[in-house]
Symmetry: C2
Subunit: 366 residues, 2 copies
Amino acid sequence: MAGGAVDALYLRPGANLTYLTGIRRQRPHATDTNAYADWIEGAYIGPERLVLVAPRMGSEFFLHQARGKPWVSDVRVVLEGEDPARVMREVLHRIAPGARRVAVDDRAWVPMVEALHAAGFQLVLASGLIDPLRMIKTADELERMRRTAAVADAVYAAVLKVLREGVRELDVAHEIDYQFAQHGADYPAFVTGVRFTRPDSDRLHTIRHSQRRLAPGDAITFDFGCVYEEYCSDFGRTAFLGSPPAEVAAMLEAVVEAQRAAMAAMRAGQITAEEADRTARDVLDEAGYGDYFTHRLGHGIGVTVHEPPYLETGDRTVLQEGMTFTVEPSSRVPNGYACRVEDVVVVTPGGAVPLTQAPRTLAVIE
Amino acid sequence: MAGGAVDALYLRPGANLTYLTGIRRQRPHATDTNAYADWIEGAYIGPERLVLVAPRMGSEFFLHQARGKPWVSDVRVVLEGEDPARVMREVLHRIAPGARRVAVDDRAWVPMVEALHAAGFQLVLASGLIDPLRMIKTADELERMRRTAAVADAVYAAVLKVLREGVRELDVAHEIDYQFAQHGADYPAFVTGVRFTRPDSDRLHTIRHSQRRLAPGDAITFDFGCVYEEYCSDFGRTAFLGSPPAEVAAMLEAVVEAQRAAMAAMRAGQITAEEADRTARDVLDEAGYGDYFTHRLGHGIGVTVHEPPYLETGDRTVLQEGMTFTVEPSSRVPNGYACRVEDVVVVTPGGAVPLTQAPRTLAVIE
């Protein structure tokens, strides 16, 4: 248990649990769902035992996931009417008798945190133990990252075919989600982004995919990715309906050059996360688009779409071989055109190597 | 502040915040996303002031949501490099000087909970204060519940048209999600459920919508709902491709009768949540399907798809006028046919009145 720093580890169903144990995740619901005792749900891991705790309603999933995994000692199904706090304490005692320090998922629920405090446990954030492991991908993880990236490439090729005058943003977004399913992905890793922009655009804060219809003269920016074999892709490109004006071509060229420069600079052991961000930002500053690049250059990616390190000011992590990042410079003129490009890359001694193959040039739709 | 029980309230972006303030939610992502200082994000509410705290990256949404809401005193944007715990303490001091007891969302993040403890605050679960308010819907809320229910009815009518031999479960599920968007919904309230069952079915634990193709002799069960004007629908019906055997017709008849009996019994002030569950269970027990009804009869529904009270053993809440529930008995033979029906209802003195209108009879597809 991390060199004696903690006696036990509590993980909710989710990315850390999948990463450490192979117990898969279900697609989360968009609004809160509940089951009796759901706040103690998850894995309780001691030095030698792992017990899954599952509310009776929904427990079939965990019983199924435990099959063929000898490292799962038991699935403790909680019946309606049992005292969840008592079950939690009993299970912790089983997996780590005398435990004092428990590491918990950073998004464990408050009733669980308060019950642990009430039982006298000291809490530690699980991220401090697990994030360093997750940052460096193994060969097997990189193979999975390549396969989920290949799905993104294939979906992009398919979705370009539906771009025509009159199609709505929501039509294109739903086609992307449908194509993910067609290609065997589990579900979108994040809400699929499709934007039609033009010189008089004005819409940044919508709740839902819009009814806006594609018209000649629109730039189309994509931001999408899926969960495939539990690993995430995250992909961006720019297309144009009709004959692109010089300003769009020039803007995308600068964005692609910023990405290229950052990727070339991202050599293992030779650069920090914030320096990589700076490299791309310098290119866009020089080309006059710096004010339109308003987010970080990228983020670590793996079993979740965003994970440390982050390519942003303040993150001084030295990039290491086997780290995977998005590299996603963009330029968005307020109420005007937007251009973006995004690839997932793996850091190597010679620079960052993209896992996606689709051309970065403007996809011009006639 | 709830009769002096708490000095301040901290809510993450989400259902409680939407319910209390009208600040809308964005559709959540399926895997974790992160931004600098995201663990202090949300609303800090004192006796006279409400301050929104937003990480710089993504703050446009909250600045936009704050417009036209004079009850939002300020949007405090947190810049990269600021100490989040310090910002949190400063904002709490601004909205409730000298505060000691803070109510927090039950799913606030652990770093926030630990930082509040470290700063000497006592914590209370926000659910204890807000759930009782959310249980009883106002006239305006009931109008919204009717409109989101009407979307479910319309989507059901549309999706029946795509049921034909050879269509896959994933095709039908994506059509439902697409129809939600067509009808102006924001997004599905939960993962859309479509199941094809037959006497040799065997599949309960999948991660994704399946490739299984519809064949004559399949029963098709639906379980879907959307978020529309921030309120949730949740709807279920059963269809059949081809000529249904007597066993399916009889099973659905028992399920519908169980629902009808429960709805008739759900008179305001006259019955508890667990007694309503028992009423439906008795009907299915009597008809010989009791062992196949493995979940609770229903759940409260409003700004989230599941919320108290719950129609299950152990919930002794007396039903009151204006409460809204799902009533969703089902019968699922292991590896065999499944039948289900589900409506959202509002409790009245004369019983529960459904908000959805679609016929509950088996939809036979020729």
